[in-house]
């Protein structure tokens, strides 16, 4: 069994955490070659080569791959696909964009958001917002899989794989990049943070979200939000945790002013310890919280920030 793992990149850098977690899943399927595609990615390719358990790194350095556009990237992956039994990527927004396209070009099904590898053909994945776990077996010749990173530990360093150059596969120009609006932040990334502090509609405004951010900064945590908070403009879209946002499983998840709708729980219920702060003692979030505090968040959150 040979696996082609598509590395996640941020600009020219390797997104090490997401890639290393997907690598852990990929290793359970066979010998792993990592594809690093982008522009000016020598450093990213070298970083991938150092990950423990990587047999080889393929580097595709071309302007066509600089912004992760799905069409040229899918063509590249398909051009390299023969000889691999599995094509794997972390279930990030960019892989979710590309991998189904790869699968359809290969005339196989994509298996999205895999949470466990049972064997080389059999995978477990959550469905219905995580209200059911389904184990599916694929009869396709090539398995195209995206991996839910929150359920795998990151592979360590210690590898010394060779780096080879892969030829590009051209660009038909179906789409073109215009701009990225990426917020720069010193906070840890939401999906890999050890602690996440999230605010919901109960926070009430963008200005008041500062009290959530202050607690997060005190703890060195990432900031998350419910969909209601994002839709109301209190928080940017990339903070949304849930079925249709990001899935997180930190050591500690603090939810303030969040009611605990199933769509939100789908994104955080695998956290190790959940703390809920809500003024409504009937709020469903308390049913999953290890420690619940019935209180007004405007009192409790600043007090917590002060006392930690």
């Amino acid at each position: 069994m040979a696996v082609l793992l598509i590395a996640e990149t941020h600009g020219a850098d390797l997104a090490t955490d997401a890639t290393a977690k997907a690598l852990s899943a990929a290793k359970a399927m066979g010998e792993v070659t990592v594809l690093v595609a982008g522009q000016g990615i020598d450093g990213a390719a070298d970083a991938a080569a150092k990950l423990d358990g990587v047999a080889k790194v393929l580097k595709a350095d071309d302007a066509a791959y600089a912004h992760g556009l799905a069409e040229p990237l899918a063509d590249l992956v398909v051009s390299l696909a023969s000889g691999y039994s599995h094509i794997v990527a972390p279930a990030t927004a960019s892989a979710k964009n590309v991998m189904p396209r790869v699968a359809a070009l290969l005339d196989v099904m994509v298996i999205s958001d895999v949470s466990a590898v049972v064997d080389a053909d059999t995978f477990e994945r959550p469905i219905y917002a995580g209200n059911a776990m389904q184990t599916v077996k694929s009869s396709d010749a090539t398995k195209v899989v995206t991996v839910r990173t929150s359920t795998f530990d990151a592979a360590g360093e210690g590898g010394s794989a060779s780096v080879e150059t892969a030829a590009g596969a051209g660009d038909k120009g179906l789409s073109a990049w215009v701009e990225d609006k990426v917020a720069e932040s010193d906070r840890p990334e939401l999906t890999s943070a050890k602690i996440v502090v999230s605010g919901g509609r109960g926070v009430g405004s963008e200005a008041d979200f500062k009290i959530i951010e202050a607690l997060a900064d005190k703890l060195g945590a990432a900031v998350g939000a419910s969909r209601a908070a994002v839709d109301s403009g209190f928080a940017p879209n990339d903070w949304q945790v849930g079925q249709t946002g990001k899935v997180v499983a930190p050591e500690l998840y603090i939810a303030a002013g969040i009611s605990g709708a199933i769509q939100h729980l789908a994104g955080m219920k695998d956290s190790k310890i959940i703390v809920a702060i809500n003024k409504d003692e009937e709020a469903p979030i308390f049913q999953v919280a290890d420690y619940g505090l019935v209180a007004d968040l405007f009192d409790a959150v600043p007090e917590l920030t002060e006392k930690l």
Binding site: S94, Y128, N131, D238
Partner: protein
């Protein structure tokens, strides 16, 4: 231009899914079903493009059981012009994989020749997030997924996408595939007069065989289980007690 909007009938998002006792899947008998929320957003976007004069005709299509008719009528009541139902299963529990759905949709696109297909980014039942990208691949079209803004400019569309770090804007040549994210728009409710009018709008019925597409699944279900539950912990009486508990647990 013409826009095609595929809509899926799924479990209503307010209903908690229950796993069937035999582990074969989720129980959908006598459960409230609705249009996939992302597809409501897709229909709404098509209607807004029509209201702006960028679109002349909106065709909605659903693939599945006969009851998906209701979902199509909802889309017609919102403002779509015409509907196609592709009957591909008789049991609500047999669902069709995104690859097969995309293959049928590709045939519908061949016949209807739309300039844009707007799909939901994911169906809230299987959460695959795949059909739009697969359809784009089969047609050799460009794709703009997870859209939070769509502007049609001549022979291209400028689309802002929700990505992990924030937002990305791309320009995609038409014809193209667009998939909707949550913040693209807020779908309208169908008014009673429009619900009545929708009953007279054309709804054509086809079968998967009409398109010569093999819908045999590539994945087989080994088992379906309830996830491991989390039980409620304790209520703490004060911030001090909370801090003490967190220190005890070693997480702060």
């Amino acid at each position: 231009m013409k826009v095609l909007v595929p809509v899926k009938r799924v479990i209503d998002y307010n209903v908690k899914a229950r796993v069937k006792a035999d582990g074969s899947g989720v129980d959908l008998a006598n459960v409230k079903m609705s249009m996939n929320p992302f597809d409501e957003i897709a229909v709404e976007e098509a209607i807004r493009l029509k209201e702006k004069g960028a679109v002349e005709e909106i065709v909605v299509v659903s693939i599945g059981v006969k009851q998906a008719q209701e979902t199509l009528r909802t889309a017609l009541a919102m403002g779509a012009d015409r509907a196609i139902l592709v009957v591909a299963a008789d049991d609500v529990h047999t669902d069709i994989e995104p690859l097969a759905v995309a293959k049928i949709l590709a045939k519908v696109v061949e016949e209807e020749a739309p300039k844009m297909v707007i799909l939901g980014k994911q169906a809230i039942d299987n959460d695959m997030n795949a059909t739009g990208q697969m359809l784009a691949a089969l047609l050799g079209w460009g794709q703009a997924t997870f859209a939070s803004e769509v502007v049609v400019e001549g022979e291209a569309a400028k689309v802002t996408r929700e990505v992990d770090g924030g937002l990305q804007t791309i320009e995609v040549k038409l014809p193209a595939i667009v998939t909707t994210d949550l913040r693209l728009n807020e779908p309208r409710y169908a008014s009673l007069p429009n619900i009545m009018k929708a009953k007279k709008k054309p709804l054509e019925e086809k079968t998967a065989d009409d398109y010569g597409v093999d819908v045999t699944p590539r994945l087989s279900v080994v088992k379906t289980e309830e996830p491991q539950g989390r039980s409620a912990g304790i209520k703490v009486g004060s911030v001090d007690e909370l801090v003490a508990k967190l220190k005890e647990a070693g997480v702060v």
